[in-house]
């Protein structure tokens, strides 16, 4: 305990974040194995993990790099479809579900990272709201492209067509991705354990990045781009680094999510999903990873809880009102001064701010 108190505050927060995730897993996993969880909660375990990773990765763009992204679901979509196609195509080649899931997540991360690199070219030229609109536009483009992609597999490998379902398959071939119908009959190989591992890996990647020379350069860009540039920080390189890592992590989360569902369709990863993830990040606090984890898991489970289900039709309305009230309560000057006085001495309020 004493050692914990003497730690550097940033290191302590990171350490406690790891510990809290581990603890949550240690409690939930035996309960899930023993069948003590309600069916809805049981079904939410994998999606919660995927959304937590999505929120963490978006927090890297929004909180650490300080740029608003409105198309994060696009990367999730790329990861989900490439991962699910890979898992389906490799069904016979890799019999072990574990290995197949890992490969699928890696492929999802790779593809999303590639798309992220492509997108970062225009993104790096723009600032502020214009950057946000370009990410929004890319999110829509990715959705349209995936909706018109047809992929099939046969003995010779993958075949694909665009716009028209004209994939010619050989003996024993089958379609995997059917354009707007998405991918049906996915074999569910995602597990809560895999989700937990992915969260831990994501945390490790982000914490190590943030506490490195590159991470400090990225945060310097966020705080004052011109000052950072004038001391020799390569703006393009570090912006791209943060953006691509964020995209790749979102891709892995997408693969995890897709392989925990029966079917996935491109319209699942639309603008609203991007916004939902942004809401997790902002409610949890920009730059605060533990905040993203809490907000993502709480807000994914909240509409499914018994209390909220009693409200039935009103639950999305209640969600909207909660969202507005939380934003008002945390940002209105009157309330902020009040809480600021309570918290004085703890410099929590000053850290991690984004212009």
């Amino acid at each position: 305990m004493k050692k914990l108190r003497n730690m550097n505050p940033a290191v302590r927060t990171n350490f406690l974040t790891y510990a809290a995730v581990l603890l949550a897993f240690a409690i939930l996993q035996p309960m899930s194995m023993a069948g003590k969880l309600s069916p809805t909660l049981q079904g939410q375990l994998v999606p919660v993990c995927a959304y937590v990773v999505m929120a963490l990765s978006l927090n890297l763009t929004v909180g650490v790099l300080g740029e608003l992204s409105l198309g994060h679901a696009g990367f999730m979509s790329v990861g989900a479809f490439s991962g699910a196609v890979a898992a389906s195509a490799l069904q016979n080649a890799i019999p072990s579900a574990w290995l197949r899931l890992t490969v699928a997540m890696l492929i999802g991360a790779l593809f999303a990272g590639m798309v992220g690199t492509l997108i970062s070219v225009p993104v790096l030229r723009l600032n502020g709201d214009y950057l946000a609109i370009v990410t929004l536009a890319f999110g829509q483009i990715i959705k349209s492209i995936v909706e018109n992609l047809y992929v099939g597999v046969d003995g010779k490998g993958l075949h694909m067509s665009f716009l028209q379902p004209t994939v010619k398959l050989g003996e024993g071939g089958r379609m995997i991705l059917n354009g707007p119908m998405g991918i049906p009959n996915i074999s569910k190989i995602s597990t809560f354990l895999a989700g937990f591992v992915l969260i831990m890996v994501t945390l490790a990647v982000i914490f190590n990045l943030v506490n490195s020379r590159s991470g400090r350069a990225i945060m310097a860009l966020r705080d004052n781009r011109i000052a950072a540039e004038s001391v020799g920080i390569n703006v393009t390189k570090y912006k791209m680094m943060a953006f691509v890592i964020s995209a790749a992590l979102a891709g892995a989360a997408g693969a995890l999510f897709a392989l925990g569902q029966n079917t996935i369709v491109a319209s699942k990863f639309d603008f609203n999903t991007s916004i939902l993830i942004l809401v997790y990040v902002v409610l949890g606090g920009q730059g605060k990873m533990w905040g993203s984890i809490l907000a993502a898991s709480f807000l994914t489970i909240l509409p499914e809880t018994a209390m909220m289900r009693d409200l039935r039709d009103y639950r999305m309305l209640a969600y909207a009102i909660v969202l507005i009230l939380v934003m008002l309560a945390t940002n209105s000057p009157v309330l902020k001064n009040f809480f600021g006085k309570l918290l004085r001495g703890k410099d929590e309020a000053k850290k991690g701010g984004v212009k």
Binding site: P122, L278, N331
Partner: protein
């Protein structure tokens, strides 16, 4: 040639509606420096009000439109007062999330009040107004109304921002709020006024949009909202002529992309053009390039 012209006319017709919506986005952005994501849902509320006025109470369409404008104006002012005004000093991301919250609120409120089933918007702009080239090229009444409404609104707005006291106050606020306040301009009233005008325009746009795409659901407003937002950025957000240009271009590109290339990729092409434009002109077609000072 006839096909080209008729597509061009359809594009201008759709673009006029986008331009009217984009005006609301651009005015609010110019003055309050916020992206009002709830704007698309104000369109939807306007459309519902007009729908009920015309279909249930059999009021004349014009009264329906006026009623929708009044309701949306009040709605816009109330939203601004309750949700955005307390956050005037807050970081822009907080305001953005609040706007998203308001958007969810309006969509779900509409779903509770009016149900989620499709409603067919009554067609009151039917028939052809003009018949050109030996009757091969027809221009519908809806198109004429869209274009006339768009041009009229543009002219009135240009006059309003250029000549009236309130309009000048708006321009002053968009330049520098602090200085405007020192000159005796009531910034809060000016911002409320901007929201009121933007929301009234949204109501008009909602009814016009419904005349072309007559299926009314609580999420009706989101897609034209996103498109019009894109149009506003396309033309240079904050600029009123930019909104008109952006809206018209976006409408024409959308119809041409759908007609000549592929309807499935319509939206993708629209957004790809936007990205290309922003790459060449990073602050939109008519936007001001702001020099960074250290």
């Amino acid at each position: 040639m006839v096909i080209f012209l008729s597509r061009l006319i359809n594009g201008i017709s759709l673009g006029s509606v986008y331009a009217i919506i984009a005006l609301g986005y651009t005015m609010v952005y110019g003055i309050a420096k916020m992206l009002n994501f709830a704007h698309g849902d104000v369109i939807m509320v306007g459309a519902y009000v007009c729908f009920f006025a015309v279909a249930n109470y059999s009021l004349p369409p014009l009264v329906g439109v006026l009623l929708a404008m009044v309701v949306c104006t009040v709605l816009g002012i109330v939203i601004e007062r309750l949700a955005y005004k307390p956050l005037r000093q807050a970081p822009s991301l907080a305001v953005l999330i609040t706007a998203i919250g308001v958007s969810y609120f309006l969509q779900n409120g509409a779903q509770l009040l009016w149900g989620s089933n499709n409603k067919m918007f009554p067609v009151f702009l039917n028939g052809d107004a003009l018949s050109l080239m030996d009757g091969e090229l027809r221009v519908s009444v809806a198109t004429v109304v869209n274009v006339v409404a768009c041009v009229a609104i543009m002219l009135v707005l240009s006059w309003f921002t250029g000549k009236t006291k309130m309009g000048k106050a708006m321009r002053a606020c968009s330049e520098d709020k602090g200085a405007a306040q020192l000159m005796g301009i009531n910034v809060d009233t000016t911002i409320s006024m901007t929201f009121a005008i933007g929301s009234a325009l949204a109501a008009v746009a909602g009814v016009l949009y419904m005349s072309s795409y007559p299926i009314l659901v609580p999420t009706t407003g989101s897609m034209p909202g996103i498109k019009a937002f894109t149009a506003a950025v396309f033309g240079g957000i904050g600029s009123i002529p930019g909104a008109l240009l952006g809206g018209l271009l976006l409408g024409v590109i959308e119809i041409f992309a759908g007609g000549y290339i592929s309807t499935q990729l319509q939206n993708a092409i629209v957004f790809a053009v936007l990205i290309v434009v922003l790459l060449v002109k990073p602050s939109g077609l008519l936007g001001k390039q702001i020099r960074e000072k250290v």
